[in-house]
Amino acid sequence: MHENEIRELARRIRIHALRMTSLGGSSHIGAVLSCADILAVLYGCILHLEPENPKAPNRDRFVLSKGHACAGVYAALAERGFFSIEKLDTHYKDGSDLCGHISHKVPGVEVSTGALGHGLPIACGMAYAAKLAGATHRVFALLSDGECDEGSVWEAALFAGHHGLDNLTVVVDYNRIQGIAAVGDVLELAPFADKWASFRWSVRETDGHNHAKLMAGLSTVPFTPGRPSCLLAHTTKGKGVSFMENTVLWHYRIPQGAEFKAALRALENHI
């Protein structure tokens, strides 16, 4: 995909997610809008995937560790043809498999997460298995910043650094807002890049809404041979809807009524 197509994919992911959270009555639209550009780049031009064969052995593995941003991944998978766009309307509804935290029952989804701090250990296992098998596919995990409060993230980071899992890439959606407060007011992560680097990761930072920069970063992994890669993507929670941006409120608030309409208008015009 070219950059303009990525831009359109990101726009569509945002609109789908807004509709899904509104129709289904689910939370976390702010977290989806935060990582929509990262997802568009990953699903648009980084991940090697075969929608007609979701379990193709040589596919790249993607683990959404911030499982609450599932609406964005469901949307990306539908756009890539893993299932119909219409299915997205079932999100959060009785009898659907598109639940409010990502589910491995959905075609194209590797693992279920939702409890935070689970994705990176699993991704390490997948990357280690690829090394054992001499396979060339890669493993990507998308983490939230708030998630990095979890000790299990750092257990896995220590492991991946020690074992030099250079087929593993972490992207951190660094929007600086967690569940009910700002990261800086809860547990400051800065110096965040230094933390990963001190765990023997090769770290880069980028604008998590700039497609060209994200593409440039993610297409050059591993950043350093013999080391796992960490891309700290500086993002804005709620990106694309001015009244949702940088607010704690829209971590949980469900977009409905006038707010939904205003948000939809904003996203339709979002470049």
Partner: protein
């Protein structure tokens, strides 16, 4: 049991490269041979059980058969959510192995006792829970779990019952083993404490009480059929475990018997009653302290039997017990 387990696993794993053994930095000297012979299939994960367990799920989802190995409650309770979400929900082929079931590491302290693990692990969907009673069961269970493609918990005990296997006997997951047939009382045991059950059976025999002794090596799935038959055919059912009474073998048996409509004449549970063991002592010493040794078992069973004549027809005796 630990050595039998690792010998069995090593022998098979050398032929099967998909088997991977992970340790949470425990097993000094014990895992050395495995690591030396098949280093690619061994990883010391460090003292990081959450990562070990999630990592195991990731490996298993890629086609490996993974064993996680640690002590006491470290590979279970410390990382319970990883077991539930990452292993059980994904039906990942991971076998969680603990050494130090019950109060095996008695004098080390309550932090190292595994005394709620059976209850907690058996509540997880897709989980098989195995607690062998002797060395033969340990070797057989290890092999059987390799054939079972899915999550399992293997609880190894420092103690082991004296050999109980009969010539030609086969082992089946989920199938209780008849160690000795008897007509008066059924003793059900899981884990190394099976040895106390067998000894208690001997002591009771001296008092003219005929015990049926069953090794319930698989706590989940439970062999409800065999247990219900025992409840119907003997006057009382006694459960024996080195584990909290809440939700362990006794709880599981009670659930199964009630559901089967097989109401035993009497029902006694031997286990830890809502306590942490803070007394210093060996496993055998602590069994005496908590009345889980053969003498205590025999004594309480005799007291429960009271003055009832066990030579009478059970059909007439059982309802009045």
């Amino acid at each position: 049991m630990r050595d039998i387990f690792i010998q069995t696993l090593t022998r098979i794993a050398t032929q099967r490269p998909e088997i991977v053994l992970l340790t949470g930095d425990l097993g000094f000297g014990v895992l050395t041979d495995f690591a030396r012979r098949i280093p690619k299939q061994f990883v010391n994960m460090g003292v990081a059980e959450q990562n070990m367990t999630g990592f195991a799920a990731g490996l298993a989802l890629e086609g490996h058969i993974v064993f996680t190995y640690s002590l006491g409650g470290f590979p279970t309770l410390r990382c319970l959510e990883q077991i539930r979400n990452d292993i059980c929900y994904h039906e990942a082929n991971v076998k969680i192995v603990t050494v130090g079931g019950g109060m095996s590491y008695g004098a080390v302290g309550a932090s190292h006792h595994a005394t709620e693990d059976l209850a907690i692990l058996r509540s997880l969907p897709n989980m098989v829970v195995v607690s062998p009673g002797d060395h033969w069961e340990t070797a057989e269970a290890t092999q059987a779990l390799l054939k079972h493609a899915g999550p399992a918990y293997l609880r190894l005990d420092k103690s082991a019952a004296p050999p109980t296997v009969r010539a030609g006997e086969t082992f089946e997951l989920g199938k209780a083993r008849m160690i000795r047939d008897g007509s008066d009382v059924t003793l059900l045991a899981t884990g190394g404490i099976l040895g106390e059950a067998v000894h208690a059976g001997d002591l009771l025999a001296e008092h003219g009480v005929s015990c049926r002794i069953l090794s319930v090596h698989t706590v989940k799935p439970l062999d409800s059929e065999t247990l219900a038959a025992a409840a119907r055919q003997t006057a009382g059912v006694v459960t024996i475990e080195e584990h909290a009474l809440d939700g362990g073998l006794g709880g599981a048996v009670a659930e199964a018997l009630l559901e089967a409509g097989a109401h035993p004449g009497f029902f006694l549970r031997f286990g830890l009653r809502a306590c942490f063991s803070s007394v210093v002592g060996s496993q055998m010493y602590l069994r005496k302290v908590y009345a889980l040794d053969a003498d205590s078992i025999a004594e309480r069973v005799l007291a429960r039997l009271g003055s009832y004549s066990l030579s009478e027809d059970l059909e007439t005796v059982a309802p009045t017990l």
